[in-house]
């Protein structure tokens, strides 16, 4: 029973990881490419980490918390780095297929 659950989680995680990178390689412009790795890949790695947590919790008969740490860190940092990348791309005025805001308005620059 645990075996089937683990296999499902691992397969889902691997497929999502692959689809995220496929999006990174195949999509048209930077702003669409940003979606693949930051959403699909994060979910895929999350699935793999949950599978690993279940595996080691069952095997060692104690709750394994290493994976939770990695998962939390990954889920907190992925949106932050995506936001910074989007800001950098807007700053450099990377070509976009859709209409983007012309330039970043001059604001408080302490961020």
């Amino acid at each position: 029973m645990i075996d089937i659950l683990l296999s499902l989680l691992i397969l889902t995680g691997a497929i999502f990881t692959f689809v995220g990178s496929l999006g990174l390689a195949r999509l048209q412009d930077f702003y669409t490419r940003l979606h693949g790795p930051t959403k699909a890949t994060t979910l895929g790695v999350g699935c793999l980490l949950v599978a690993s947590a279940i595996y080691f919790s069952v095997r060692d008969e104690g709750i394994s918390l290493h994976e939770v740490l990695v998962t939390l860190f990954l889920f907190i940092t992925a949106p932050v780095s995506a936001h910074l990348l989007a800001k950098a791309a807007l700053h450099l005025q990377v070509k976009s297929l859709a209409a983007t805001p012309a330039a970043e308005p001059e604001r408080d620059t302490s961020v």
Binding site: I4, G13, A14, S21, A25, R33, V45, S52, F73, V80
Partner: protein, 89 residues
């Protein structure tokens, strides 16, 4: 069942690594390359977690945690450099 699924997962994650490496080498603009590098880090974490399950050894998580932290710091530093031309002002 795990013995059949894990090699498939290895193959998929390795393909994902190759795809993000391709974007890192090709990617027309600097943010594309940073995004490729970031995805490379995340895919490496996935591969390390798979390796940990396959070999039944929990020691690989320390490496995965380190890569997660260093990858995030690297991405933020590179983005700050693109935004400001300087990392620590």
């Amino acid at each position: 069942m795990l013995d059949t699924v894990i090699p498939i997962a290895y193959a998929l994650v390795s393909l994902a690594l190759v795809l993000s490496l391709w974007r890192l080498l090709r990617g027309p603009d600097a943010p594309d390359r940073i995004l490729g590098l970031d995805t490379l880090y995340v895919n490496t974490i996935a591969l390390l977690v798979l390796l940990g399950i396959h070999l039944g050894n929990a020691i690989y998580f320390e490496a995965a945690l380190l890569i997660a932290m260093m990858g995030f710091v690297g991405t933020v530093a590179l983005c700050k450099y693109l935004l400001r031309g300087d990392i620590i002002e």
